[in-house]
Every structure is written in C-alpha cells, then in structure tokens.
Symmetry: none
Subunit: 206 residues, 2 copies
Amino acid sequence: MTVLTRRQTEIYNYLRDNADSFACAPSLDELCVHLGMASRGSLYKHIMALINAGLVEPFAGNKQAGVRLTLPYEAEDELPDGLPFIGSIAAGKPIEALATVGYMAVPDALKTNKPCYVLQVKGESMIDAGIYDGDWVVIEQRDHARNGEIVVALIENTEATLKYIDQQSSEKIMLVPANVSMSAFTYHPEQVQIQGVLVGQMRSYR
Amino acid sequence: MTVLTRRQTEIYNYLRDNADSFACAPSLDELCVHLGMASRGSLYKHIMALINAGLVEPFAGNKQAGVRLTLPYEAEDELPDGLPFIGSIAAGKPIEALATVGYMAVPDALKTNKPCYVLQVKGESMIDAGIYDGDWVVIEQRDHARNGEIVVALIENTEATLKYIDQQSSEKIMLVPANVSMSAFTYHPEQVQIQGVLVGQMRSYR
DNA sequence: AGAAAAAGAGAACAAAAAGAAAACAAATTA
DNA sequence: TAATTTGTTTTCTTTTTGTTCTCTTTTTCT
C-alpha cells in the first residue's frame, strides 16, 4: 500500500468534496482549471497515484475519459444500516457479553438519539404490558432509569430480564414483572445492574 | 450498460431542463439550433446513444419524428422511502378514502413482500392481543383473510376497525375484539369489507 | 548545503470523441 | 404529384483527451 503525498491527498480531498459539481467524469484539462494547474501531464501523475491507491477509479464508460470517485468513499457511510441486534433477553448474560447478531433497521419513531440496540423477548414476564414472547424491543443504552420505566436489568451478573423498575433508593431496588402470575422482587442496588431502558417495541404476525 | 460521454450528458441535461419548452417532440434540426450545432448527423449519434441508454425515447406519435424525454428515469428515484402511513384506524372511513399522511420506514421483518401500509391504532378493542392505543400496525393490503387473522375491516362503509375475523361463510362473518369488556358481532358478508391483514406492530415508549 | 523526492510546465503523439457536410430514403406537406 | 422536411448513413476533418517524455522548479530530509 502506497502512501499518498501531500499534493495527492489535497487533490483527492478536492475531488471528494466537489464530486457533485461535475456532471460527468471531468477531463484532466477540466480539473487543471479547477486546481489552478497549467499542465495535464503533471495532474496525470497524481491521478494515477490515486487510482493506484484505489481512491479513484477511471471512468468505465468510454475508453477516453476522466476520473471518478470510486466506491471506497461511499463505503464509508456503509456503516451498518440500523441498530445492532444483540439476541434474546432471557439468556441470563450481561448485554456486553452478547455478540451482535446482526443489524435491524428500526423506524425513527421507535428509537432515541442516544445509542440503542435491539433484543428479542423470551418469556411471558411482561405479557400484561403488551410485550409478548418473540417481540423485539428497542433499548436505549443507559445505566440508570426513572421509577416506572421498563428496563433491561442484570441481576447478580447472571440473569438479564425485562421488568418495570420502582422504589429505587440507596438501599433497595424493586423489579416488577407485568404478569399477574409472577411476583415482584426487591434487591440491593449492588445486585442489580441496569443495561438499558425500553423505548420501542415491534412484533411480526407472519 | 453503456455510460454516457461528456457531450451526451450535456445534451441530456439540456433536454431534461428544457423539456417543457418543446411543445411537441423536437426535430433534430430544431435541436441543432438550440444546441448551436451545424449538423444533424452529429446530433443523431448522440441522441441514439441516449436512446440506447434508455434516457430518451423516440416519439411514438408519427413514424418520423424527433425525440422525447422518457419518464422512467425521473420517476424511479422519486419513490418514497418506506411504507405509506395512512393515519389512524378508528376514523370510521374506508382506507382508500384516507390520504397518505407520510411515509414510515419499517423493518423488513414487520412487512411482507405484498403492498403494505401503516395505521395508528385508536382505542382499546385489541388490548388483550397486546395491541394498545397509539400503537402502529403494519397492514398487508388484501380483501380476504383466513379465520383467526387480525384484519382491518370496514363495516357498513362507515366504521373501520381492527378485529379478529372468524367463522367466515357465505352467510356470515364474525368480528371479534380482543377485549374482555367488548363483545363480538356477526355480520352479513355484504356488510363487511376487508381492507388488509395485520402483519406487524410497533410501539414507542418515548 | 546538498541530495533526494515531489511537483510542475510544456511538447509531442495516438486514440477517441465531436462535428461538418453530403447523399439518400422515408415521411409529411403543399 | 411535386416539394419539402426529417431521419439515417457515410466519409472526412477538427477538436479533445489520455498518455508519455524531458526538463525545470520547489519542497523535504539528512
């Protein structure tokens, strides 16, 4: 991998920033005018260096034509589209320990502008809140929550669950399932680690 | 797929921008004047390249006539991103009558490969199915459903609701709310028009 | 300061693209 | 029908463009 010289990065930056202003692939003469150069031959060397580095590609259409920005540039915004999908939530492991399974495109209305991730719900502990087994939940990554919010809580570093949080104090934290057949538990704050707060929910009926 | 040369894109841009100023399909001679060219033959080559690229189509009206911009090119990238968001569902109007309020990006997992649209739920009629007031539902556009599916049904051309459908026959259709405090109703098939089937659901907790 | 690298200018050449002009055929108009 | 416009093809010339080369100037580094 060759390293670009100063002038080459300068030219590359210019091409990247002004890609839109060239209707078609610009010719060397055209670029010379924009760059304030008097010789095609000089520019040619730089362009060839950029092509060699894979930053620019020759215009594929006709045999004789200028240069055009190549894909690697666009690849930069090819950041995975959507939120990380981390797996299911009754797995009994800390979220950090779970690998990202994939990425899921989520409507803007279902997420916040803070970092979020997606989990799939296992179990019936939140069924009375309309959160069913198999639903996907969008979680905003946080280590604290307000009373009444639904949180992803890691208990004793082993069990991760989705519960209402309530009665938070320096001495206790209560986690309440939304299921009439299940009961609430009270923990010491050290036993409970909040890993996120519910901000969205999705279900598929297919 | 051939790529256009610089002159060809130049000519194409001119045609696109000045499409309105040509009452009918312009002849080559006419275009030559506008483009400052002296020879039809030269322009002909360019036009043929544009036709070949599918950017321009020969005027279909008479056998021998100029060129005309084809629509597909511009129409393609104007497709809105996401599914049409049609409004809320307890509005008591047929879906067709409701204007598209906007477009909502929906995860692939929540839609089908058939035409779908998005509605916001008003009311508590499906609360026992975990569908709450304010939820968004993704509906696959259909005029029929299987028993047990959740459908958008238009009753007597006035009231549109989200209900389970059951006991379909040539004589009756039963629509069942998922709410213990509400009761099912039976209708004649002529009274009920199915407008779609539930395939996805979304909720925001923000 | 001196060597090496980088950048630039300019000329020369071949290939490609663009244009001009003429000639012909099909369609349209008078 | 005759005349004219219009699309189409062909041949040729001009212009543009990529490419290579040599030489000079500038920058960079030891």
